[in-house]
Amino acid sequence: MTLPAVFFALFFAYPVVAIVARGLKTGGHWQFGRITDVLGQSDIRHVLWFTTWQAFASTALTLLIALPGAYVFARFDFRGKQVLRAVVTVPFVLPTVVVGTAFLALVGRGGLLDQLWGVRLDTTVWAILLAHVFFNYAVVVRTVGGLWSQLDPRQEEAARMLGASRWTAWRTVTLPALGPAVAAAALMVFLFTFTSFGVVQILGGPTFSTLEVEIYRQTAQIFDLSTAAVLTIVQFAAVGVILAVHAWSVRRRESALRLVDAAHTARRPRGAGQWALLGGVVATVAVLILLPLGVLIQRSFQGPDGFGFAYYKALTSSDSGAFLVPPIQAIGNSLQYALAATAIAVVIGGLAAAALTRRSGRLVRGFDALLMLPLGVSAVTVGFGFLITLDKPPLDLRGTWILVPLAQALVGVPFVVRTMLPVLRAVDGRLREAAAVLGASPLRAWREVDLPMVRRALLIAAGFAFAVSLGEFGATVFIARPDNPTLPVAVARLLGRAGDLNYGQAMALSTILMVVCAVSLLLLERIRTDRTTGEF
């Protein structure tokens, strides 16, 4: 537990506190008056209001669209289910920048809808909401569907035998059992959308701005550190509340439910209604998830002289002016950074999960919640904090490459912990005892019993950490050096410049990034079993 705690103190708490202090302290005095000042400004209030309501709207819309999907995945057995499950999960590990770009290609200026019907959504909030649904569909399907598939269908049958109609049986038996999972999923979606950065940065234009985007603007463009600090504190408080509610709902979820093997609860759809539902879910996935990605790929090939690899070729030359180096080098950078970040995240997260399994109590639960914080705290703040704190001895890391992986690992750790924890907790102590009685030393027992059971989860955790690191944008955009950009940073920089060539290159680079993420995810799907996975 010591190593993870030190890691978080040094690379998370210290930079965040330092930057907040830098913003709110002038001449050695805390200026708390600034908080009310800033919150009094009408444009800031507008940002706060927009951040909150778009998060609510995104969450509601996601639940509305994804809950039927959760039902279909939990209760129906059909050909291609594995493929569909993988397709649904791909967006979750896609970098926000890619998602933003894909939706831009679909609903933005000159996008597919614009060409076909002259419809543009990038000036409305709908582009943001749809992108958020796209992202979080998998969160709901996995969290709610995972539990749903383990609920014994005979519970509903029991209710029906006592005179409940199909709907009443669902409402009185299944819904209460699902409730905590739905709440947990909703909170996660709310958290992700409340702190949304990449998507809003690209799709929001000048009109729409979330807290995170505003923090970025204040820090990087206006250099108003004190406003940024106040906003960071506000976001921190909000995220703290969300996580507290989440922790509480997770604990409620662990209440005594009758869980059965998910393999036995699904069956082929029967009747027109059920087939229609399945068809509807498949259509939703096609329109909502496959279409944007398809358009993105199509755009990346549609050069000025017709279809071809023009944009991909352009990525290899450095004379576009946006970079000191050919953008294609970003791929190598990204992969190296992500691998290093994954290694760090797995070690830190694995140790933390092991510590959480061994011990219990209030302190541990607090630590558990603390580990989730990096998911919600402004990545922009962390990135900027890195720059101003880790630049002097004894910790002068600014000139080293390790800075980027450290920031990325911070976001990867919560995923590792969430994936490992349920599996570690599920290892039955009696198995170890059985091994001991058969003559295995404790170390041997760990190797022969624990490791084979945990290995799968470890791989999955590593995969998630890799994908998340690869897509990390908010912190990396600050600390990646201009001559060593990562893929998401390069995409954002290309999008920030005018011209078809830059736009096309952004599409091409996004496509590459999407393929890397999708491939790593599909590899994960092969080793994943439904039983032994955590929340994600």
Binding site: Q155, E157, A158, M161, L162, G163, S165, T168, S255, L257
Partner: protein, 351 residues
């Protein structure tokens, strides 16, 4: 008129393809009002499917189900007015005992005060007075069983179905509960259709036993009838009898691998299987016997000792003897047969 009638009920699993197998194959069954019928069969014989069909939880691929003479096609499960007690009880874990029992009453729109009264009465009836506020998770297996029973009885179903009602309980509890159940159903006049794989449970509970095999009904009759005259080799072996051999019956004797064996007067003639109940295998001094065997094992069964005998060039034979007379393994004994304990089975020879 029968309360429940199944008419050629057929259910196939695995779709319409070639490898579909019939879980219920043209089953015909009647249950009269106030009757307790127990369906007995090994796992996979289709007995649970039978209950689900009657409950309306499983659709039919052929045939019909009548309740009170009314065809139930298209009637959803919650409107059939039948109760089902699930194998593993399926108590609702989020609700306490009282709320579980009251669930059915609530679904039928009973007033709150009425619900409370009924719940109290039912919990008393099943021997758990005052348990309303207890959590389901805190109940022992036997108590869960009682709560499940109270819950199933609460809406006063015209037919109560029990799926392996005592399956998960330990032996002594099972033996006590089966007596309680029979008393209770007798008092209430409940019509019951139960399924079990345990013959002891079926015989103790039922007015009538129906033995199922591979989706068909193999035999139906009172427990005594089924026990005394198993219809075929399958039923005989399922009831635990192993002394079943091919024989040729002529008059009041049959030719078997064990030699000539007497059969009851009036037995069907010709080639058949015959069953020799262990009690019909008497051990006599070797000198007086037409067949001599070596004792291989001796198993203490409480009321008697089961002795396994190996004859030369004939199948093993099981005999039941009194505790005092049981021979030691390795001993040579003579065997005589008692016609009263021998049954000529239906000629149809199961695999």
């Amino acid at each position: 008129m029968a309360l429940l009638t199944l008419d050629d009920a057929t259910v196939r699993f695995g779709g319409p393809s070639r490898n579909a197998h019939a879980a219920l194959d043209r089953v015909g069954l009647e249950v009269a009002e106030h009757e307790i019928v127990c369906v007995l069969g090994p796992s996979g014989s289709g007995k649970s499917t039978l209950l689900r069909v009657v409950a309306g939880l499983q659709g039919l691929d052929g045939g019909r189900v009548f309740l009170d003479g009314r065809d139930q096609a298209g009637v959803p499960a919650h409107r059939r007015g039948v109760g089902l007690m699930f194998q593993d009880h399926q108590l609702f874990p989020q609700r306490d005992v009282g709320a579980n029992v009251a669930f059915g009453l609530r679904m039928h729109g009973a007033a709150r005060s009425e619900q409370q009264g009924s719940v109290r009465e039912l919990l008393e009836l099943v021997g758990l007075p005052g348990a309303e506020r207890r959590a389901v998770a805190s109940l022992s297996g036997g108590e869960q069983q009682r709560v499940a029973l109270a819950r199933a009885l609460a809406p006063r179903p015209r037919l109560l179905m029990l799926d392996e009602p005592l399956g998960q309980l330990d032996r002594s509890l099972r033996e006590r509960l089966v007596v309680e159940l029979r008393e209770l159903f007798g008092e209430l006049g409940t019509t019951v259709l139960a399924v079990t794989h345990d013959q002891g449970e079926a015989f103790a509970l039922a007015d009538r036993v129906v033995v199922m095999r591979d989706g068909r009904i193999a035999q139906s009759g009172t427990p005594l009838d089924v026990w005394r005259y198993p219809a075929d080799e399958f039923v005989a072996r399922f009831l635990g009898f192993d002394n079943v051999v091919d024989a040729t019956v002529a008059g009041e004797a049959a030719d078997t691998p064990w030699g000539k064996v007497p059969v009851p007067a009036g037995s069907p003639q010709g080639r058949a299987k015959i069953l020799v109940r262990p009690a019909g295998v008497r051990l006599v001094p070797p000198a007086d016997a037409q067949l001599t065997c070596t004792v291989t094992t001796r198993t203490f069964r409480g009321t008697h000792v089961a002795v396994h005998l190996q004859a030369t060039e004939a199948p093993r034979l099981e005999a039941a003897c009194a505790l005092r007379d049981a021979p030691e393994p390795g001993e040579e004994v003579g065997v005589a047969f008692d016609a009263a304990e021998i049954v000529v089975l239906d000629g149809a020879s199961p695999a």
